[in-house]
Symmetry: C2
Subunit: 435 residues, 2 copies
């Protein structure tokens, strides 16, 4: 009945900021008889970032890859965990409490698992003009805007406006950029010719821009090369060695002085750790706004504070710039920290077991690296689908995603081209920024 | 290639405002060899209003009951129809053209099939404070707000605020009001005890208020009585003979002077036809902002202008106040008008064949009237589900809705409790009101 997390004298209070892969897996691993666990998340659902790009490209519905925390905390492994909605803005390390827009929550041990957000590298007002894919809400917005461009291009008679509306620029050649560019290439190749009689396929340009000289740099060189080829087949123009300088008045300007007139820029060029106002300590995050941790994910210089997942940075011999910011790392760190907090002995150092990495570029095309093995094409695509399907939370979600994929495969269509958004009244200020 | 609806000299231009049941069925029935048909709709999808309440109560996802027009116009019966996104604000009957926020579209014949919107009966600012169910966007917003109340009630320690957050008032005892109140009763009865440990079920109040002395007045008295009983079983408080006067500062005041403190009012108390600025004619809509038509759905006093569906009003001996505003009427009118426009002879007067009406009140409970026959309970619920499932557009949607219903049935859960909304940047003024 109490509305605060219970403060039983025998259990220590563990507060986890963020219910993503890292936070939720920690909540699963930890012994709820020893720890009074509270997950705080600004959203009321756990979600699956690797498929955000499919939400943006109308292949999946947002709800297919989201799972309500309230539902999850009924499940066997997570049972007993408290969930609190809220956006943690302030952490007081001295008083041992965190503050959301609604309340102050005390902790005995704190786990920072808040993940990352977009990095706009200080380009002024960029966040107001580009579309992003770092949350479900951002993916829904990106979908709405892409669909809007196609409808407005079907209407306008002004050739310059039409060209601007039908030019889509994706910035960043990492997995997210490659995947969304591929999905938009499919839209161009398969959907537009059949469903937009007012648009000629050749009018549509999908341009992927990457600052370095290859795609998918976190994967093997062969994967990057295969992705480049697959994108070409989907009629995506890839421009390497170019970085974006400004985006103003509908014109993107690049480092080499070239420009593109477009109304749609999808920004996937960088991430940075979520920020907090901190009190009671001089310890601040390191490079990339990530909290520097030791091999047990203990934040260096603070006691009873841990960081796991994308927001943590553990520099080791094998990973001198920290582990890659991947779901697998987050899951494994959550599990290991759970073990160490359960025993209290901190006898198990975190070591990343690389299960491989992969990216998909439209139907029948994907690239997979597993250890030294690389493969691509249909087989890689099947592996990609199985791995992602198995990783989704909940049977309902698995079934709906599979159904949507099957329907899309046979209809060559992105069936969910819906511009859905909640109506605006009444406005509630604390929901205004709907991240 | 042209971006305007083609204006072939042999085909006359038929413009349909609104792609709901009426407009879409007309587009199906009409001969595209004789008519150059354009559907204008503010949304890029056809949707299914009878299930909006399930979107609001987290039982279905919005995309389950929406179907993109672009996809639909590939289908055999609709093929050849043009779709234009836009919100028609102005009609010029003299120049024979309609205006959206994007363009001016000329017509030879015009069909007004824009449906209805909420009627707030002139209560000042009410639209800013209550939640409604007349569009998918409104249903998504209503869902977000209901879920928000439960989360905030789990947090707050102030008993008065807590009571206000956990009091849900539904105004209007028609099918929509009864159905959403029933769904919220299920939330109270089945979901809250298991998933909101910080909330006691008895703290939650769901109150249905109706101005007259019975529920479901468009149906048989037995249906109204059965619905009343079923709502009681779901712990919904029904207050009859009371109408809402004001809603200010979180307090609803009723006609009898009584008040309820609440942060959530779901308004289903009335509808009114969508409005247009009209030029070139003195003809204006009749009662309920509905366009008065003859037995062929021709708008009285105008030539080449028709109205079908909820926005039309045909006064006959059998229906002295016009046909009920139901999906079946809209579908039948669309079909009949299509026939008359095809032959050009207007030899088939519209006559409503009443196929019965029904409403559902939670799991295993529904009421059905078919002619003089009335039945309720599990059998009625099965009939209700079959009829609604068959009426949905698209196999994917049918399959996903069925899957969601089966999962909910066995888990006693509303699986889609997600507060999803697009992120706010960049703001585009023409999407601001997201109806």
């Amino acid at each position: 009945m109490s509305s605060t997390p219970s403060t039983s004298s025998t259990r220590r209070r563990l507060v986890i900021i963020g219910g993503g892969f890292a936070g939720l897996n920690l909540a699963k691993a930890i012994d709820k008889k020893l720890w009074d666990v509270t997950i705080i998340d600004r959203h009321n659902y756990h979600c699956f970032p690797p498929l955000f790009y499919q939400v943006a490209s109308s292949g999946l519905e947002a709800s297919d890859i989201c799972f309500p925390f309230r539902r999850e905390i009924r499940s066997r492994k997570v049972k007993g965990t408290n969930y609190r909605m809220g956006d943690v803005k302030d952490i007081d390390f001295e008083r041992k409490e965190v503050k959301t827009q609604f309340e102050t929550i005390p902790y005995d041990s704190l786990v920072i698992a808040a993940g990352t957000t977009n990095n706009f590298f200080g380009i002024p007002d960029l966040h107001k003009h580009v579309f992003t894919l770092k949350s479900v809400s951002q993916a829904i917005r990106t979908r709405n805007e892409i669909l809007d461009r196609l409808e407005r291009a079907s209407i306008t008679k002004d050739p310059a406006e039409r060209a601007r509306l039908l030019t889509f620029v994706v910035v960043g050649g990492g997995p997210t950029g490659v995947e969304i560019a591929g999905a938009m290439g499919e839209l161009k190749r398969y959907v537009i010719p059949r469903e937009y009689p007012g648009i000629d396929r050749d009018e549509v340009r999908v341009i992927l821009v990457e600052g370095t000289d290859s795609l998918l740099r976190t994967m093997s060189p062969r994967s990057g090369a295969d992705a480049l080829k697959a994108l070409g087949q989907l009629m995506v123009e890839v421009q390497l060695g170019k970085s974006m300088k400004t985006y103003d008045q509908g014109v993107v300007t690049f480092s080499d002085g070239s420009t593109i007139a477009t109304e749609t820029v999808v920004w996937t060029a960088g991430v940075t750790g979520e920020s907090f106002n901190t009190e009671g300590s001089d310890v601040t995050p390191g490079p990339g706004n990530r909290w520097i941790v030791d091999e047990y994910n203990r934040v260096t210089g603070l006691s009873d504070v841990y960081a796991i997942g994308d927001i943590s940075l553990h520099i080791s011999e094998k990973y001198p710039r920290g582990c890659p910011q991947l779901a697998q790392v987050a899951i494994q760190q959550g599990n290991t920290l759970g073990h160490n907090l359960n025993t209290g002995r901190f006898d198990k150092a975190f070591e990343y077991r690389d299960m491989g990495s992969m990216a998909t570029i439209g139907r029948n095309r994907a690239v997979v690296d597993m250890g030294k093995t690389h493969f691509s094409g249909w087989m890689a695509w099947m592996v990609w689908m199985c791995v992602h399907l198995m990783s989704l939370l909940g049977m309902r979600n698995k079934a709906v995603v599979l159904l949507n994929w099957i329907v899309s495969y046979f209809t060559f269509s992105a069936g969910l081209r819906l511009m859905l958004r909640p109506s605006k009244y009444p406005l509630r200020s604390y929901w205004e920024d709907g991240q």
